[in-house]
Symmetry: none
Subunit: 202 residues, 4 copies
DNA sequence: CATGAATGAGTCTTCATTCAT
DNA sequence: AATGAATGAAGACTCATTCAT
């Protein structure tokens, strides 16, 4: 009966990842102890080490499987959408929705990751890979818009893309930190307005 | 001669803060040890504790004295400048210049602070206070621009201000993390262009 | 068919012992894990515990069945041999042959056992029993030689016997540790020469 | 006051080594805990790590400073002695005396070292270096005896030397393990008698 | 004031052993 | 009988903080 066992193992793995995420969100990576994680998912410390080789391995997996998929996710969720402008709009909407409803923890996980990035090169590389992934995707969309004549030709796709990505993560951080005065919907509107006037052909 | 002693103490204090900053930038707050800091400024561990009551106190002071002064700094450096638009331009220039030339370490210190913000509420509050400070200042500038008729009246000062601040910190993080593809000058140009078209009266 | 099952069980048992021996020789008793042993003989950890009640039990059995039989072995292999001198010669030959050809692992197993003897009284007792057994046997041979007039009457059988046994184990240890400069054949020759001149009637 | 401090530190270091030796003799290296050692010398665990970088470092130092000096010791203690034969006699006497009176713990420390030799290559190398050292010294003595005509020319110095070293360590092990029937004085007499008849010119 | 040795609680990780399937 | 996932106690090592000198 390998099927059942395999499924069961995967469930355990996810349970551990969930527990770890919760704990990390609560006290950060360094202050979180392996015992904390084990407790929260009702396993023993020893059991954890059958699924992950180290505390750091858990963090890295979390990065890969939760944060690292952002580029893929964006691509998948915008594939059917019509023109470049609709795709950009869609991306921003997804971003706002994710932050508020779908994955409210992901924002804080990003915070945890940034916190570790200084001390752990692998974490940092994960963040940078995510950055490149999103930037690549966004630039491609913008480029298409320019080629099709929808956007003005002087816009620099990569610069605008990285600008948007920086903005997104900046917002995420302050949002995750509960900064008062971050109003996602109004920021969304303002950004869209700015981008539109910037990209529109005079 | 209390004056000399006072001065001497302050020098020591700054030396410790500088050393701590260097060490934190190198390995992050958690992995940095008090010994590391003491070594780097040529003092003994014991001596450190006569100037700061704890490792965390050093971090907090660093936050207050180096990061927390951003709002004041912006205000001071733009006070003499002409109109609202010139002030905004000046702010962005200062930001770019600081990142590249003046205080290249400050960017990474911000990264350290973000890393600690999850585990240390005081650090987080410091970051949020800095956020509010800058946003307050920027909104005031924008509001003046609207009132004077330089900017279009529909713009929301606080939203635009917080958007800019989020963008600034997002750029800072990736810049501090050495993300390839962050070109400060071109980002600057694009931002200014976007903001201008957004704020300009039709 | 209980006979077959019995045989099967014994084979398993021996397989485990062989695996354990290999693992112990590789990393010593303490560093060897029960998983190591189980892996090497293709069984599960659980299965091991149906044959031996503990890791230490495996070691003890190994001692009894592999090291502890040295006295019996010597006796059996020299039983048909002519006089006392021939028997002593035979013993030394067996020793050298065993070290080099027959049981090259036994030497290292002795090393493992000595390593454990400090921490495990039962292991130590096993070693001491083996010592007594061999000494008993050798003294008997020497005594016979004295009685028969082959050896000089002033020789002390037990002292010579224990001396030889100490020498044998000393050689074994350094041999097992790959000491350069241990040349079994030349040591053999020298020992035989020394013993002969010591035992010979003037 | 560097003199006092230096001396004090060295005393501490020796105290730790003594404590470690005691603990190792009691339960072997692997089963001994760093806490055990710290307790026995009245220090905290942390303090230990200011003097030795790891548990294994303590063991290695013990090997170097207590076991590894055997060759030097032999050389120093026999330097003034007359001819080769007197030197060999002296060596054997020193050996017996050391085992019984001077350094009764050293024998057991050798046992500990042998126990670790399988799992720790550095320990094994230490033992082998000690072996080489003693063998070198003894062969030199024997060679001088042959050259001076005191010993018969067919004797092989290195073989006899390593044989004696193996015998010595074999005796030490069984002595340290409290084997009944090890009578040092009578073994000494028998060995001397055997060696003499082997080395004497017919 | 400064030093730096000492403390000891706290962390990650391992592994012999058990037991539900 | 066999499996191997789970347990959890135990151990090496770190480091913020204190305090005698």
């Amino acid at each position: 009966m390998p099927k059942v066992t395999e499924k069961h193992k995967e469930q355990r793995r996810q349970a551990i990842l969930n527990a770890a995420e919760q704990v990390f969100l609560g006290k950060g990576y360094q202050l979180a102890t392996v015992d904390d994680i084990a407790c929260r998912c009702g396993l023993s410390v020893g059991a954890l080490y059958r699924y992950f080789i180290s505390k750091s391995d858990i963090m890295l997996t979390l990065m890969d499987e939760r944060l690292g998929r952002t580029p893929d996710l964006l691509e998948r969720l915008t594939s059917g959408v019509g023109g470049p402008w609709a795709q950009i709009t869609r991306c921003v909407d997804i971003f706002v929705l994710a932050l508020r409803v779908r994955h409210p923890t992901t924002g804080r996980l990003l915070l945890v990751a940034w916190g570790e990035s200084l001390q752990d090169r692998v974490v940092r590389d994960g963040l940078l890979r995510r950055f490149s992934g999103v930037v690549d995707y966004l630039s491609a969309v913008i480029e298409r818009g320019i080629k099709s004549g929808d956007f003005q030709p002087n816009a620099d796709p990569r610069v605008l893309a990285s600008l948007l990505m920086c903005l997104a993560d900046g917002v995420t951080l302050y949002w995750a930190a509960n900064a008062s005065g971050i109003e996602l919907q109004r920021i969304r509107a303002t950004v869209m307005s700015m981008v539109q006037s910037y990209l529109s052909v005079q």
